[in-house]
Symmetry: C2
Subunit: 440 residues, 2 copies
């Protein structure tokens, strides 16, 4: 059955995701990407970057630091209010979030089982989610810094630099992919709520009068991207934030939610109208005039910002969940062919026939120049198919005895399991055409 546990097990077994630091008992809320996982992550990032930066002429990229001057986080409001309420159990001194009744009840039930009748909690205090560190050889308040809690602040503080050194004019965007950190009190739900994660954020600067229209535009653009990535239309939906759940800077905020197995609909991307909150607050704190001016605008103004923001680990998990299928005895990851860690795998029918192995090897080496290609000559052909099905490899190429006589190989399709014979000299064109059809 398609359960979260089944997906977690496949991700571990095939080298997509490992619990981080497993050798030392792990570390809560941290995961490493293995060989297949890093390939899928790279495909996600490349697709986003190509769509958002390379193919557009109104958006430029940026790569700012994880550790910024701490004034950035004081100005943005994170130092004061990027917090969760924390309470401590007076029995065992365990600390948990006070705003999660399910966790509180579970903790009390655990103690009552052990015979403790009354479980008391300390009054909740606000716990800041920014990771702290110190820069330089003195550890005190003047050297204290934070690991960024979101990548976008690095964009806002570079707004004047980008304007001064490029030819962008409003409306325009600045895009960034990079790590961010949140010291969650209780991380959980596998890749869904982690302490170290990678974001893909676009800050799109517009005239305030255009903010509503551009929010609608970006909602539409981003939804289309998720469909292009292969996520099922019926498992995606928009949800507008209620006024009381919006962040303090946002005038309007929408989530694109994915219908995860067991968990139901959960946010995978947020699209917010951040207004002019960030630029104004940085202007006030830095003493710099950050208003926008150009030849078309007689009066300088603070642009509004439309922000599509997505966490890579959530997107990764949605893609795995969407692709995961059990089909009789086999488990198959029906990832879109352009996203799959390997486009093709090449096998000799049996490993101990040198003439088959050497032909297969030749084909493998040639395909690898153009496509991510795997090699496998272990076990029997059925086992190799099962392995590649779980890796999401769309096509398996087998060199068999017929290859020796007529130069054709078997190409087996991951989703249909049907096989067809293709001339070994036509494989580049064959896969090229398949990939370009699937990219439509």
């Amino acid at each position: 059955m398609k359960t979260i546990d089944a997906i977690v097990a496949l991700a571990k077994r095939r080298g997509f995701v490992y619990p981080s630091s497993e050798l030392y008992g792990g570390l809560g809320g941290f995961y490493d990407y293995g060989p297949l996982g890093v390939a899928l992550v790279r495909s996600i990032k490349d697709s986003w970057w190509k769509t958002i930066v390379d193919l557009r002429d109104d958006i430029v990229g940026l790569d700012s630091c994880i550790i910024l001057n701490p004034e950035v986080w004081r100005a943005s409001g994170h130092v004061a209010s990027f917090t969760d309420p924390l309470t401590e159990c007076k029995v065992c001194h365990m600390r948990i979030r006070a705003d999660q009744p399910v966790d509180v009840a579970a903790h009390e039930a655990m103690h009552r089982k052990a015979g403790i009748k009354t479980v008391e909690w300390t009054e909740a205090r606000q716990f800041n989610l920014l990771f702290r560190s110190f820069v330089g050889p003195v550890e005190d308040s003047t050297s204290q810094v934070y690991l960024r809690g979101e990548t976008c602040q690095g964009i806002f503080i570079n707004f004047p630099n980008v304007l001064a050194t490029t030819r962008v004019r409003i409306p325009f965007g600045i895009a960034q992919i990079g790590k961010a950190f949140r010291n969650e009190v209780t991380p959980g739900k596998y890749l869904f709520r982690v302490r170290e994660f990678e974001q893909m954020e676009l800050e799109y600067f517009v005239h305030p009068d255009q903010a509503g229209e551009m929010l609608a535009y970006w909602k539409n653009e981003r939804f289309r991207w998720h469909l292009e990535m292969g996520l099922g239309r019926e498992r995606l939906r928009f949800r507008q934030h209620e006024a009381d759940e919006r962040a303090h800077y946002a005038a309007d905020s929408w989530d694109i939610e994915y219908d995860f197995p067991e968990w139901g609909f959960r946010e995978i991307e947020g699209i917010a109208n951040r207004t002019d909150f960030d630029l104004k607050t940085h202007a006030r704190h830095s003493g710099r005039d950050l208003r926008y001016r150009d030849s078309q605008s007689p009066d300088p103004y603070y642009p509004f910002v439309i922000e599509p923001s997505i966490g890579i680990s959530r997107m990764f998990l949605a893609l795995l969940a969407d692709a995961y299928h059990e089909d009789g005895k086999r488990t198959v990851l029906r990832l879109k062919s352009g996203l799959a860690p390997y486009t093709a795998a090449v096998f000799p029918l049996v490993a101990n026939k040198p003439e088959l192995a050497s032909q297969a090897r030749d084909i493998y080496v040639r395909l690898k120049q153009l496509f991510r290609t795997a090699w496998d000559d272990r076990g029997n052909i059925g086992k190799r198919y099962l392995t590649q099905d779980e890796a999401g490899t769309p096509w398996c190429v087998t060199v068999d005895y017929q290859t020796l006589s007529d130069g054709s190989v078997t190409v087996r399709d991951r989703d249909t399991t049907s096989q067809e014979r293709v001339s070994r000299d036509r494989l580049n064109e064959y896969f090229g055409a398949k990939l370009s059809i699937s990219a439509k």
Copy 2:
């Protein structure tokens, strides 16, 4: 003149590199990559990944966390000995490295100038370069963690996971690109010694008997890559570490050095024989048997590790320095065409002729599907060439009055400044061919 200052100024002016957090007065040892910088960084990473992972069948990728279980750093020796000697000036309490006589003398000279005859220093103590932080809601020794000081430890601790979930067999490698952090006492030399940086590391596991031969192999492979990236042969050299400068884990260690303007030869990549130090130390600390076994090896053993390791910001700086040329009145970045942030720029000869602008726009939109392409319709054509020369754009395409009659455009070459007329319908093939020649 090709000075470091001239390169720094160009990098700022064109949006390659900004001092990080400049809006708040900066932060020592941190730099952000702007729109052109992030494009060059992506090209460097993609080239490395393609060469090391995608085109090979003996190396797989990994993406591990920046924050690992702190036991990793106790095992690796970083907690005990990843240190620099630190001394404090008794006059002003400034702290600097005790092992840098030039810095010490400069500081003393500064005080003597101000009339202070004797400058005394505290006894040097060892200062640890790992950034510290805390995970979870309690800040004490049990929750203390470190930001990784090198990416390779995430590889070593995943050695058993990769062996269990992939088909790699010795000799094989695990490669990773990611951020690392060193709390340098005195960062400096622009991008050369920064506190937050990105590494590209390969850990290549070999039988101990093969270590010498494989070190030689990787020295050769890596040197070739630097040549392929376009660095001048005469500005590259190997330097073997003396026994007393090698890290405690290394049996032999070589630097690839680049001859920077003003600074002379400095390390841009290190290639070390790390022996079996890391796997053995993690085995001892974790209590897990990390010896390698396969059907060809009756006796399990600890493989040796050959490590080519390169910092992206140093490579970035070497590429800028190598490409930087002053040629009469113009400054030109002669980046290899495959690496340049933009492959081509498209202009209408003048902006206020709609028929030129619309044809130029059509060409721009079409080229952009295949190549990173810039658009410019401001100022005069000479200024646009100067801008693109400084951005390193190899070819500029101008739509002029002749285009309207015969469909040809002017293509101007960055390095020679020569121009030729090319049919606008042949531009895809034209640039495709130019790029593939330059990739040889």
